[in-house]
């Protein structure tokens, strides 16, 4: 993964000193609340319902074991012994003291981590495919480009005070696992017929109050022009994005208002000025970035371990279940990916204790080249495990509570922190997740239901990505009471779609039985091989609606 040189270290250290000074000025009353607010947000510091919340960037989801151990130390020393993996692959601490935040940032800087631009009206942490560089269906590894974008966007002097937050995601596969079409800018790295590397550029996607699927404005942008083109998009947005109403300030509203074609024309006009200027990427720079993501020193293996795995799975059915759900294909023969589930029933989805962070670091050091990946589904991936070691990894993961074999199932839900923590939330989301997990506690039944994305947001800001869940649940407030609206038909992949509201909202206690009814209809209507989303797309919303809202006889 990327490693800082002296330049990167200097920039991050300067930031720590700057924020220390700002915090001191604030505590001394020299900096007003409204002035400190955006400054602390641009360091990832929110003031939440109960305490401050500090969001730490995990650039495109890559973490070293040194970083994991530092996060464990911070959870133990400055927090209540745990942290949370967010739906943007980042890490959040829920209980730091404001006065201690500069010290936390100083400690993080030692391991090349920070909270820069993890919040606020600026360019946020760039996200990517959690299987970048190892997926068998990948065309180009997106991570070198993510790193180039990270550096370009970090303290960009022109774009630190945008109309609203700005999110960029990059995928290198036709099978999009980074949800690029629901980002402010989505990039797909592609190879042309002539063998050149470039990007398909989507703009104006997003979730939140007004969910929109992004528009393709460039079918092939040669890689050298990546930064000039991004700068052109950001400049058009910085000048023309609405600033009078924060609910209409995202780039998606501007793209809708102008039309994608007219917006694209403005970008191209700006790009014409910037093209071939000094920020044109050089072959040297792309090569430098690529060298941080080399082919790892894999052992020369074939897939001989497959027979052993079959035998182990037959002898130990629980291991077999885990293999089916939590282990994935790797491009290197003899290796596999392992997803550690952070969704055991009874734990807030995505939460990890200090001891678990250290256990993951130990596992990664022993079995996965000392690196892990966070996922936007709020799990952790060991990306590079030898197949012959999978049984050992399973046993170790089980002992730490990571081996719940539910990846990709209904119980592997995406879930925001919700009303238990977040001051924006209209309703709680964590107890809803748990009540659903308890309803679907039979693993064989869960497997029979297959891949099913269930996403829960505690308010319309949609941190839980409810618009792109096959089943989406949105917490709403009705006269001071918490209710939950159901949406069906969303999907975050390459065939992206936004869910539609099923009908009137339900009370929290009704949700498990409502989800059960939806699943019953799917089981009743599905034909061989169909996932929930496929059946929904084929039969439409009516059978689901009739079942859920049927009057009791």
């Amino acid at each position: 993964m990327y490693q800082y040189d002296e330049y990167d270290h200097r920039i991050i250290r300067d930031r720590v000193a700057q924020f220390r000074g700002q915090t001191e000025r604030y505590l001394a009353g020299e900096l007003k609340d409204e002035e400190f607010l955006p400054l602390r947000l641009q360091n990832g510091l929110y003031i939440q319902r109960l305490a401050p919340m500090l969001r730490i960037n995990v650039p495109y989801g890559m973490l070293s074991t040194t970083q994991l151990r530092k996060l464990a130390h911070i959870a133990r020393t400055y927090d209540k012994g745990y942290c949370h993996i967010t739906t943007r692959q980042n890490v959040q601490f829920n209980w730091p003291e404001l006065e201690e935040v500069p010290e936390i940032l100083a400690e993080l800087a030692e391991v090349e981590m920070h909270g820069i631009q993890s919040s606020g009206s600026c360019i946020r942490n760039v996200t990517s495919d959690q299987f970048a560089g190892i997926a068998s269906d990948e065309v180009v590894d997106p991570r070198p480009y993510c790193e180039i974008i990270r550096q370009w966007s970090t303290f960009h002097p022109e774009f630190a005070f945008l109309p609203r937050k700005f999110k960029i995601a990059v995928t290198g596969s036709d099978n999009d696992r980074a949800a690029v079409q629901v980002h402010d800018i989505g990039l797909q790295v592609v190879r042309s017929d002539a063998g050149e590397t470039g990007f398909r550029v989507f703009v104006g996607g997003g979730l939140g109050r007004t969910p929109v699927i992004g528009s393709l404005i460039r079918d092939f942008l040669p890689e050298a022009h990546l930064l000039s083109y991004l700068e052109a998009i950001l400049r058009v947005y910085n000048q023309l994005g609405r600033r009078d109403n924060k609910y209409k300030a995202r780039i998606k509203i501007l793209v809708k208002a102008l039309g994608a074609e007219a917006f694209g024309a403005k970008v191209e006009a700006e790009f014409a000025h910037l093209q071939d200027g000094p920020i044109t990427l050089t072959g040297d720079e792309i090569g430098r970035a690529q060298r941080f993501f080399p082919t790892l020193p894999y052992r020369a293996l074939d897939n001989a371990a497959d027979a052993l795995l079959q035998q182990e799975a037959a002898e130990t059915p629980a291991f077999g279940k885990w293999l089916t759900r939590n282990v994935g294909e790797h491009r290197q023969p003899g290796y596999a990916t392992v997803t550690l589930s952070l969704k055991p029933t009874g734990v807030a989805p995505g939460d990890l204790t200090d001891g678990q962070l250290e256990a993951i670091a130990d596992l990664a050091d022993q079995y996965s080249f000392g690196e892990v990946r966070t996922t936007h589904e709020q799990n952790i991936v060991l990306g590079e495990v030898e197949k012959s070691k999978l049984f050992d990894v399973w046993q170790a993961a089980k002992a730490q509570g990571f081996a719940t074999p539910n990846i990709g199932t209904l119980n592997d839900m995406i879930c925001c922190p919700g009303g238990d923590f977040c001051s924006l939330a209209n309703a709680k989301s964590i107890p809803i997740a748990e009540s659903i997990q308890r309803q679907f506690d039979d693993l064989d039944y869960l497997y029979d239901l297959g891949d099913l994305d269930l996403n829960i947001s505690g308010c319309m800001n949609a941190c839980g990505h409810h618009h792109v869940g096959h089943i989406g649940i949105l917490g709403v407030d009705k006269k001071g009471e918490e209710f939950y609206q159901i949406q069906l038909g969303g999907n975050a992949g390459t065939d992206v779609s936004l869910g539609s509201v099923l009908g009137p909202a339900f009370g929290a206690e009704e949700i498990p039985s409502v989800i059960q009814k939806l699943v019953d209809i799917y089981v009743d209507k599905r034909i061989e091989g169909e996932r929930f989303i496929d059946t929904y797309r084929r039969v439409g919303v009516d059978p689901f609606k009739e079942k859920v809202y049927a009057k009791a006889d």
Binding site: Q18, Q151, F159, F161, N238, R243, E285, R288
Partner: protein
């Protein structure tokens, strides 16, 4: 005389700042050094050519660099107003005036800017900062040194770090 920061030093602000007007054709223009609104410049530039040495023009945040364009090159001073410090449009305006329209005179940030923005403002080409009344200018100047290195190309450093990295 009021003070401001210019070229990283505290200096006298000898320029009057003329308020926005709906009557650009008829409004009185002071004889002293004055920064006039863009619409007054657009309406009266012919009559003002004789006194250009004591004339500046200011753009509001919703007025973009192309509305002044290369005409800026004649002027000794251009100001960009920040109605609120979260309104970041002026950062683009400054870069465009410097990088696209060849403006090399005094480029002044006015309005609700805060000291913590000085580093980014100077990167975008501002060299003069009229901070709100009561600001501690001496202390504010420390913020020019907030960072000792930068990744991006901008007005103060036309090469991105990747073209300079040893």
């Amino acid at each position: 005389m009021p003070k401001l920061i210019k070229d990283k030093a505290i200096a006298d602000n000898s320029w009057l700042l003329m308020e926005a007007t709906d009557a650009p054709e008829t409004v009185d223009i002071p004889a002293d050094a004055v920064i006039i609104p863009l619409n007054v410049w657009q309406a009266r530039k012919q009559e003002l050519t004789g006194r250009i040495a004591t004339l500046g023009v200011w753009l509001n945040s919703d007025q973009f660099a192309d509305q002044l364009g290369e005409e800026a090159q004649q002027l000794p001073l251009v100001a960009v107003n920040f109605p609120g410090f979260m309104d970041g449009r002026g950062f683009s305006t400054a870069r465009l005036l410097r990088e696209r329209y060849g403006y090399s005179g005094e480029l002044r940030a006015t309005g609700s800017i805060i000291r913590d923005q000085l580093f980014f403002l100077q990167r975008c080409g501002f060299n003069s900062f009229d901070l709100p009344e009561g600001a501690d200018l001496e202390a504010a100047m420390n913020s020019f040194n907030d960072f000792s290195e930068t990744y991006q190309a901008a007005v103060d450093q036309p090469l991105p770090l990747f073209r300079r990295r040893a």
